[in-house]
């Protein structure tokens, strides 16, 4: 993760403070951050760890595309996103989204938009490790992003 890049994929631990620093400026009055962490229990099932894989080159492009969408929808916001790859333990940070804005409403809305779009169009996959096996998530029923929101070719 280089310090001057707003959108990145990183195989090393993410520090939310780095992203906050990237988006803060004199005319922002609000910064929201979203920190996605590895949760131990999901529907009563215990996760041991998670592995994230990314199509890195395309993922960065798609994160930048989300940034452009946000700039258009919420003028004046600045966004930084870093997504982790590799093997993560419980409580490790998988993704951080920081959004600065002159006013708070846009900072919340834009931030939530970013995570929803990440889950729709950014080529990153997670593999769950349970006590009784592993599975790549996303090609199962529990996650069917293609039914809605999937971008047409060339859509911005």
């Amino acid at each position: 993760m280089t310090d001057d890049t707003l959108f990145s994929i990183s195989s090393r631990p993410i520090n939310p403070a780095d992203l906050i620093k990237k988006v803060e400026h004199r005319n922002c009055g609000a910064i929201t951050t979203f920190i996605g962490t590895v949760r131990e229990m999901t529907h009563g099932k215990k996760t041991l760890r998670l592995e994230y894989q990314a199509y890195e080159k395309m993922a960065v492009k798609k994160l930048e595309e989300i940034g452009s969408e946000m700039e258009e929808k919420w003028p004046g916001t600045i966004t930084a996103i870093t997504h982790r790859t590799g093997m993560l333990d419980i409580s490790d940070i998988a993704v951080v989204i920081a959004v600065s804005s002159p006013h708070r409403k846009a900072a919340y809305e834009a931030n939530e938009y970013a995570i929803e779009r990440i889950k729709e169009i950014v080529p990153i996959w997670k593999k769950e490790y349970w006590e009784d096996g592993t599975k790549w998530i996303g090609d199962q029923l529990e996650n069917t992003p293609y039914e809605k929101g999937f971008p047409e070719k060339g859509e911005k």
Binding site: K61, A94, P123, W125, W136
Partner: protein
């Protein structure tokens, strides 16, 4: 020559991250059909294709040097 990339479950099924093939001039659809036959990729139909890092349609044709990636439903975040 084109480059083919696999991710997540598709990578496990294909047993490789990437391969190269003499498929320039073929459509996404045709390459999919070939891969399904050649590698028995059961989840290929649930994957989107991306050509040179942009989502592509089945009718798009690959040129020499292009990279086609198969993108299973994503699960980042």
């Amino acid at each position: 020559m084109i480059k083919v990339l696999f991710f997540a479950r598709l990578q496990d099924e294909a047993g490789t991250e990437a391969l190269e093939a003499q498929k320039a001039g073929q459509t996404v659809q045709e390459i999919k059909a070939w891969l399904k036959e050649e590698y028995q990729l059961s989840s290929l139909d649930q994957a989107m294709a991306a050509v040179n890092e942009e989502f592509a349609n089945n009718e798009d044709t690959l040129s020499d040097g292009d990279t086609i990636a198969f993108i299973p439903p994503v699960s980042g975040g």
